[in-house]
Structures are given as C-alpha cells and as structure tokens.
Symmetry: C2
Subunit: 514 residues, 2 copies
C-alpha cells in the first residue's frame, strides 16, 4: 500500500467532491489529483527522484496537502519542518537528511537566507506562498508547468518521511517512517471505530508538520471525505471554519481544546455539524472536559497516545471511556495494530499495576533514526520501541502514563527535552547549575520551569534568562518560570533528583510523579 | 503484524471476556490463549515447524477457532478444507500442498480412510470431535499435554494459509495468503466503518473454512468482542444462537439470509441484540431485501464483494447505500485497502459505465497459487488480480458485477447477465430462490432458462413468469423455459453451483460447460 493510493480512490469515488477548503479556495479531488501529478512533474524536473528528500516549512494550507501527495507521487521523501524551530535547527535537519529542495510559505520566507547559510546542501527553494516570490526562489506555479507524470506508487517499506524530533542530547533525530508505518497507524486507528467520522470533513488547525495531525490527515484520505485547513490554531478561526464549512471532526491538543471552549464566540457559533474531537499529547483534565461538555454538547471525544516514532498512534481512548472518571485519565488501550506492554529496566513485562516503561511493537514502529544506528538500536529493541514514557497498565489493558522517563516536557502539545534546555541555560554566565522540569500549567498543560543555582555574587531575572535562551533554542522550549535555589538535590551518584524538584509542583495533581 | 497479535491484545484487554461460545461451552480469552499455547506445543511435538501445513476438515466449532490460532502460534500454515468436497478432492489438496497433519471432527471422521488412501503424505490425523476417538487418530486432548510454547509470531509476508478453490474448472488451486494479506483485508474493511460492530459478538454460521467467514473472524479478533459459533447454518440454529447469546452481528450469504427471514420462528425470536448483517457472494435481491426489512427491522446491512484470492474483500456497500434502489444492486466501492478498476482484454481501463473485467490490487492480493506459477502469472498481472468477474463502474466508483465473464448467456446475439434476470424474478411472490442459466437452444444458440424454488403452497407457470419479468426487464432477457426444483445446489460458501444446473442441459453438446 502507498500513501497516494487513497488519492486515486477518492478521485474514483468522489472526483467532484471537496478535497480541500483553504480560505475561499475549494479544490475537488479530481482537481487535486491533476495538480499533484503536475507538482510531481515539477519536482522531478528539479531532480527529485526515488527516495530524495523534500522539506516543507509552512503553516497549514491546501498547498501543504498537495505537496505531501506530490512528493510521494514523484517517489520522494518528505521532511516536514517544525515551524517553531530556529533557522539553525531547521538547517541541521536539512543537512543531516541531505534535503536538497525546500518549499517555504510567506510566513517563513524571511528565514530562508539564514537557513541557506547553514545548509549548503540546499539547491532549490520553492515559494509556496500567496504573495510575490522572493528573489532566488522558484515560483510554485512554475512547478505546475512541466506537465504531469504517472504516480511512482512507491509504498510498503519505502521511506515516506523523515520527521525531526527534539533531541535529548542536544541534536534532533530524524525519525524515518515508511509508507507502511504511517498507513498501519491510521488504518488501525480507523478500524477501532474510535478515530474519525468516515466520509466527514476534517479540520486541520493543529500543525500539519506534526505527525498527530498528519495521522488524522492520512485517516481522512483513507476513508474519504474532505479537509478544511486553517493556517494555524486560533479559537476564532477554528469556530469560523467549523460553522462556515460544516466541519465534522478535528484533531487538537488539550491546550487548543481549552482555548476553544473558553473562547467568547463559542456560544454563538453554529457547531451543529461538529461530531468528533480527537486529541493527543496528554490526557484531558477534568476541568477542560467539563467545559467541553458544556460548550460542545453532543460531541464525542477520542484520545490517541503515541509518539512520532510510532507513526504515531499506540493507544486509543474511546468516547464511552471518557464517561468513566478513572479511565479518562488513562491513555486508553492498545489500538488494533499495536502491541503495548510495560517493562522493567531489563525489558521484562511487569505485573499489572506496576510502573515501568511503556514499549510498543507493530508495523507502525519507525524504521529507525536517520543515520543514527546506535540511537536506533537503543530505542528499538527486538522490534519494541522504548517510548521513554513511564506508565502502568490496569487489568483491562488501560495504560496510565505516569511520567516521561526520558525527562521530556509536553508543553502546548510540543515535546521539550529538558537536556536541551539545560544545555542552553548553562551557557549563561550567572548559572552554576540548573535543572529543567515540567510543572502543571493551566494554559500549557506542562510549563517549562527552570531551577537554577547561581554563581556567587550574581543575580538572575526570568526575562534575562528567556532572552539568553531564545537566542539558542526555539521560543516554546524556553523556561516560563524560574526558581533560584542554593543547591540541587543530588543522588549518591551525583544525578540530579528531579523527582524531588517536581514533587512540590505536582502535589494535588491527577498525575503521579516519578 | 501477525494473525495471533489480536489474541494477545484480547487477553490483555478482555482476559475474562468471552472469546467463544459453542453450544454450552464458553471459553474466555485468557483460557483460549492458554489452550492455544498448549495446542501449538502439541503440534510442534507432531513435527509441525515454521511454514508446515496443517489441514482442518470440520464443521464450525470453537476448536476450529482454537486450531487456527494454534497453527499460526506454532509457526504453521493452515489448509482449511472445503467440507463439501469429496475425499478425493481433499486428498488432492493435501498431496498438492504437502500437508502432513489433518484435524478432523466427528462429522468427517468416517471419510478419513478414503482420504488417507489417496494422500500418503498424511502422517497424523488428529480427532477434534466430541465423541470417542477413532482408531489410528490422535486424541485432541492429548495434544494439550505437551505443555506450552511461546508464540513464534510469524507474520507479515509469511504464508498463513493455503485455501483451495476452483474445483469446478478441473483441478483445485491452492490460494496462498500471507498474514499481511488477511490482515490488510480485515483491517481495511473495519476502517471503512462498514464492517462489524466493534466489540460485538459475531455469529459464525457460514462455514469457517471459507474466507468470507474467516475475514469476519479476523475482523472480530482485531477489534475485540467474542465469537458465537454454530456447527453449520440452519435457520432455527441461527435464531436460537442470536437470542440466547446476544449476537450483535453475523456474516451470511444471501441464500442463508433468505432462509433466515422466511423461517417460521423469526417472528417470535428475540433478535433485539442483533445490529448488523454483512453478506457476500452476490448482491441481495430486492425481494429478499424487502423481507429482511420486514423480518429484521432496525438491522443494518453491509455487502462485501471479493474472492479468496483477495483475502477476500475488494469492495464494500454500506448501510445507507442499501436505501438507494440502484446502488443496492452494486457491490459497493473499493474498500480503503483496495484498488479496483474495470479493464478491457488488453488490461486497459475502460470508460466509466462500460463493461469489462474487474481487476483489483493492494496488500490483500494473494501471494499466488501454490506450485502453479503459470496460473499465478495469468491471474496476477503487474500486481492486479484478474477476478474473472465482468463488471462496470459508475461515475462514483460503484461497481456493478454483471456476471462471471464465462457465465454470461449469449442469446440471439444479445448478452444476458444472469444476475439481472434473477433480481427481477425474485420479486415474484411465488419464488423463494432462483438461478438463471443459459442452455443450448436450436433457435437462440443459448436460451435463458430459469431454475426456481417455490414458496410453500404456491405454483408457477412459465407464462406467468414471463409476464412478471417483462414488466421489469427487456423481453430478450426473460426466461424462455422454466424448471421447478426442491432446492438449488449450493457450495460450502452458499454460492449456487450453476455448473451442476447446466450440466444436464449441456451433455451431448460440443461446448464445454463452465
């Protein structure tokens, strides 16, 4: 099976039906396929052959949808850039993966010179924005002038994408996902009955570069229907898109859901078409769930848990399970395509109820980290992906994520690795030692929090710390709160005891602290 | 992915839940897995290793369910025998595939000496019946005494089964299906939303050796729930099982559906749990559909079309589409996992609306015919399975199977498709079931001939039949001769054996019977 297969199927079954709505631009499936075959020809003319990498750095748009399909149609591999990353981080991903073509929209066009300076591998930049094409870039429209090519129909174990995720050890890692990986996750999720509304109209407000939204996108293509795309999440933009374009379902992260139900416009908006909300990243708090039920009566919720390395779905929590006060704090149960277990440090399954590491196996487990065999071997052992998440499983297979073993913070749906932030902070002249943890936050789910020991005779303000870190890492990774201490608690082996630091913040929270 | 994966998942999520109900015997998923690990150990002790073939010749039972899983757990390949076949035909399949172990139930134990005589390859016969074990056979219980083995977890492209079909055109062919083939079909069908009730209780009344029922069985395992198994289809047995065991869904063939809705007991039976009926083999006639709606109000229908070589699902027709008088005569549209097109004799796609051969591609296309490379190459061309079915596709991708290509009646130079004539005849109040065939005719070359089973207490004359059909279809399509029979000969899959009906008419003719 290949990721363009469903494009052919949708043309066959629903050629005049809506493929994408973006602003006022409506594209049918037949038109979409025609454009995809042209863009693919354009990419081929740029030298993109089987297995070659093409990056997209863009807010959500119908062009994003088209490019994904065109890259695969041409036989290529997509590198969807995280739009929050600094030019240096993006350049690293381009160099590391040998990406020669970058497609960029208006919003990020200005960052291209900085990216190019740090990524000499780049040979062509294609401007996929709506405004005038900046100097030195190819116009997207000109790509469509090369005629059409036949779909290469690369699929199965062929590489489909390299998805860069934050590195715990400083540098990002490129997660290699095949066509089969991505299809396994979305088909399995759909087969459970706890995913999208078949044939519905899916809203893309979560970023399309992220695999959470991309898995929903693949799912929508597989079971028919159309996509309604907004550039990025804003509560008003989402409400308007739902009512204007009769959206049936959406994938959001809990932070977005909270902002949506708290938006002043929610009471007046016509949300009668809206049936299903799939969320991921973290469980939904009871407070937000209550507000969802008031603001969006009749809507059903499904939670998906996973990670990029799992394409991404591992477990699902269905609508009925949200009525149970205990189960709704879980991440649900293994999806039909996934095997999930909780293991100890030796990889041995622990008894039910005991905490260990969540490991996952199945056709959706990544092929590995690009050019990082050692990291791949450490992460995937005998076919089991070690998620780095701590968890326990109850007698009915429900998985409760208790904490991130790898010390990762999930803030506003984004993964922030403490090690990377700590690495940036310790370059500040006033900081002697530091530890970065996630603490509960109403708005962000978890907030990046810095605990620091100062150099003698120095002082430090949060603003100073943020300015320092913003010059080094993406804004969402920078600490939002600061705590100055005399010393960090350390173990006998000299390891910082983060658990102790977290404890006072997480007391009274639903989630256990490891 | 492997076919035992869902067994592990069901144990994890629903260990105390019902896996199978057979008569008074209820087995939980945890008990099932324990028994499967034991039976697998027993099979290994018999010498069954990776890729070795094990046959099952049995009516439906919970042991059938257990054996399928145990054979895969042990690393073996199943050869599910068609229970309608003669000992000679079964022996052929054993010899051809090199099957060394045969599991047989009480019903077919008496045929074993004849099979053994013609299949010296057979080294062990295991008796899986409930009665005393015949001489020379291993007792099933003794297989469970060898302890347990770990699941080999063979899967993906490993061979899972050899399914012998096509006995009607000379020698049977062994259709080789991998784990991936079978999982692709059932996952794709489930993803469409038009398959089973997730978590429900599925009735097995259609024969489990046939891939139609087996695909539903795989689907039930994948999305959880349990199996209610009756030895074979009888209207009363099915009604009793549904009401007693709260069955939610079933797979039947139209012949069975018709017998079910016509059964005297249908009005009194408690069918309140029954939600969904999936059928395959042929479209449902309007007459039967009307009776389903009267006898089983509130039930939804899905049709699956395919063949063993497609594991077996290619297209699906959903519940809503049954409300459309045109679409409900179609076989539905390509399932999410399948690519379907209509081609001419050169393999070129024909314009929509034109009749050609239905060809199908995807991960569910068989690996080939066992030891028949020439037949495989003729059937699967560039990954496209040539179904041998004639069909046309409308503008929305709906596939109308017009007839078996070889089975079309050419009468006075006109093509007459039996399915269309049969659909017109079944609306006649006196007709319970019918089959339309071509028979030799001096004047017309072939003559449209109707073979009918009457409703009890009714009579039918040819003129009455012609008047009825002329009101519905073109005159040249109306039967010119009529034959009333007590019952139509049907295959194990419930398909009418037209070859048998034709045979007596074509004997002495110089044309071969297809």
């Amino acid at each position: 099976m290949h990721l363009t297969q469903s494009l052919h199927r949708n043309v066959q079954q629903d050629g005049d039906g809506v493929a994408t709505i973006f602003g006022d631009r409506v594209t049918t499936w037949a038109e979409c396929a025609e454009r995809v075959a042209r863009v693919a020809a354009g990419l081929r003319a740029l030298g993109v052959g089987a297995g070659d990498r093409v990056a997209i750095l863009s807010l959500n748009s119908d062009r994003y949808h088209e490019l994904l399909l065109a890259i695969w149609w041409a036989g290529g591999v997509v590198n969807p850039c995280n739009v929050r990353w600094s030019p240096a981080e993006i350049a690293y991903s381009l160099e590391d993966s040998g990406t020669t073509v970058l497609c960029v929209d208006d919003t990020f066009a200005a960052t291209v010179p900085a990216i190019q300076a740090a990524a000499p591998v780049l040979s062509t930049v294609v401007h996929v924005g709506e405004g005038p094409t900046p100097d030195g870039m190819r116009t997207y429209g000109s790509l469509l002038d090369e005629g059409t090519v036949e779909d290469t129909r690369r699929g199965g174990d062929d590489l489909a994408g390299i998805f860069y995720t934050g590195g715990t050890t400083g540098f990002p890692k490129g997660v290699m996902l095949s066509h089969r990986n991505m299809l396994a996750s979305s088909l399995g999720a759909a087969a459970s009955g706890n995913f999208l509304v078949p044939g519905g109209r899916l809203l893309h407000a979560a970023p399309m570069f992220h695999l959470a939204d991309l898995a929903a996108w693949v799912g929508r293509n597989l079971t028919g229907g159309g996509h309604v795309i907004v550039p990025m999440f804003t509560p008003d933009g989402v409400l308007e898109a739902i009512s204007k374009h009769r959206v049936t379902d959406a994938l959001l992260v809990p932070t977005m859901i909270q902002m949506l139900v708290d938006a002043p416009g929610v009471a007046e908006a016509d949300l009668s078409s809206f049936q299903k909300l799939v969320y991921g990243g973290s469980p939904i708090s009871e407070g937000v769930l209550d507000r969802v039920r008031k603001a969006l009566p009749g809507i059903v919720l499904s939670q998906a848990y996973g990670m990029t390395e799992l394409s991404p779905v591992a477990t699902l929590l269905g609508p009925e399970e949200h009525d149970d006060p205990v189960l709704r704090r879980s991440a649900g149960r293994a999806a039909p395509h996934a095997m999930v277990k909780i293991v100890d440090v030796d990889g041995k399954e622990v008894p039910r109820g005991e905490v260990g590491e969540i490991v996952v196996s199945g056709d959706h487990v990544m092929q590995g980290y690009w050019n990082k065999p050692a990291e791949t071997a450490a992460a995937v052992v005998d076919g089991w992906m070690h998620t780095g998440d701590g968890g326990r499983m109850d007698d009915n297979g429900y998985v409760f994520v208790v904490d991130r073993i790898k010390d990762m913070i999930v803030s506003g749906g984004e993964n922030v690795y403490s090690a990377e932030v700590e690495s940036a902070l310790t370059t500040h002249p006033s900081i002697a030692a530091c530890a970065v943890i996630g603490v509960p936050d109403e708005e962000w789910g978890e907030r990046v929090h810095a605990v620091v020991v100062l150099q003698p005779g120095t002082a430090l303000e949060l603003e100073d710390l943020r300015t320092h870190s913003k010059a080094r890492i993406a804004g969402y990774k920078c600490p939002r709160s600061l705590e100055v201490v005399d010393a960090l608690p350390v173990s006998g082996a000299g390891k910082v005891l983060k658990r102790e630091l977290r404890e006072r913040h997480w007391q009274g929270s639903d989630r256990a602290v490891n």
